[in-house]
Amino acid sequence: MIPVSIQMRQALGKLVLPLLVLLSIGIIIAGQADRKLADKARMTVADGLAPLWGLMASAQHRVQAINTNLREAGRMASENARLQTENENLRRWYDVAVSLTRENDALKTALHWIPEPTPAFVTGRVVADSGGIYARAVLLVAGTDSGVHVGNVALAANGLAGRVTETGARSARILLITDIASRLPVMLDASHATAIMGGDNTPLPRLMYYAQDTRPIEGERVVTSDQAGAFPAGLPIGTVHYLHPGQPVVVPFAQLDHLSLLRVFDFGQALIDPPDAPGHVPLAHPRKTLTLPLKTLLGQG
């Protein structure tokens, strides 16, 4: 301790505060004059404190994680209860489904039901189509070598995409349902009424020639119809949507603007040949009328 008198010390004590105020003002001025030095001092302190801050931030993160975990656990408990009730419900439905399947099988057996053949299919990658006579068509890397034939049906992941129009040994061109050359017989799922779905090079093909007493309903499912013999019945295409009153279109299920994979099904429709009936005036085979113009066109070209 520096030997000073009490009076002296009290005087010094009184001086400390003004001195410190002056010192801080000096620091303010010095900091303004030499900003680099001030920044350096700041960074040194920040560097020293960085581990501490890191520790606090990690602690905060951990607390937040625990908090979210707890909340998640609460949510999971309610979710679990909901799932259990749903599971009970579904178990009941499962029993119903099993008994219905058995009943169905029994009925089919009683009726001597002829089972439908399971269709053969190949899956191929879609490559963009640059040429060709169609505006909306894609090229598939699967051809006659893999069993793809003209007239086969191409399905995307969740709906009809189009049909095979030309085949090479290792590639096939598929006319999409949105092309202006595409005219498909379709069936409206709710009313079982038939119509024609005609592409117009827009993403939404139009519905035409539907019966005036069974108009398409907004949101109704549209499936293929087996009317012309080109498609098996019941392949999903899309839903009805009215762009304007009196102008129904189909919103396809398949995302036709960016197809990547397509399954090409051979439903064996061509093999179904109606037996000759004496006295029956033979109409042109519906499938052949669909494909003939194309073949002549190709033959000429």
Binding site: V16, L20, S24, I27, Q32, R42, W53, A57
Partner: protein, 188 residues
């Protein structure tokens, strides 16, 4: 008997010599507010995304310094206030020395008026503190304007002043409790 002529005679010898433990204890008691403020500064400058942290930090620091400066100046000396202000400047983004300057002024006001303040009841002390806090925030705003050479928006300064005034009663209650505890320990 002649008084001892050595210089140690000037030391007050009313109390017996302290043991090491007692000294540590006293030191800790004196440093308690400063350590509290230092921890608060570190806590609020950490990247924790606390809403209003930029305004809450000076509010708590000003309230704490005011309280200890007039109730227990030994626990909050001018040097400690100066160092804490400088630390706050270094950690935060205020110009170097500004916080030290403002906190020293707050400390000075509380320190020199402590005998008057102690006689007042809490509400009046709070009123005085409100004036001091508003002055401090306005001073900070004025200095910021001076450094930028432009008139800045006064709304943040007012918000900070209100926050400072609002944060005083709970902190005051907390520190009163701490003081009571310390005093209980001192004279059992």
């Amino acid at each position: 008997m002649m008084p001892d002529p050595s210089m140690s005679a000037w030391e007050p010898e009313i109390r017996p010599r302290q043991t090491v433990w007692q000294r540590l204890d006293h030191g800790a008691r004196r440093l308690l507010p400063s350590i509290f403020i230092a921890l608060i500064i570190v806590f609020f400058s950490a990247p924790l995304n606390i809403p209003g942290a930029a305004e809450l930090l000076p509010a708590i620091v000003i309230a704490t310094i005011f309280f200890w400066s007039f109730w227990r100046p030994t626990g909050m000396s001018g040097v400690a206030v100066f160092l804490l202000g400088l630390f706050m400047d270094l950690v935060g983004f205020t110009p170097l020395g500004v916080s030290a300057f403002i906190l020293l002024l707050v400390h000075g006001v509380a320190f020199y008026s402590r005998f008057g303040l102690m006689r007042l009841n809490f509400l009046l002390v709070w009123g005085v503190f409100a004036l001091v806090a508003a002055g401090a925030c306005l001073l900070q705003w004025g200095l910021a304007c001076l450094f930028r050479l432009a008139v800045l928006d006064i709304a943040p300064a007012l918000f900070e002043a209100l926050l400072t005034i609002g944060v005083y009663p709970p902190l005051s209650a907390l520190f009163s409790w701490v003081l009571n505890k310390l005093d209980e320990k001192e004279d059992p």
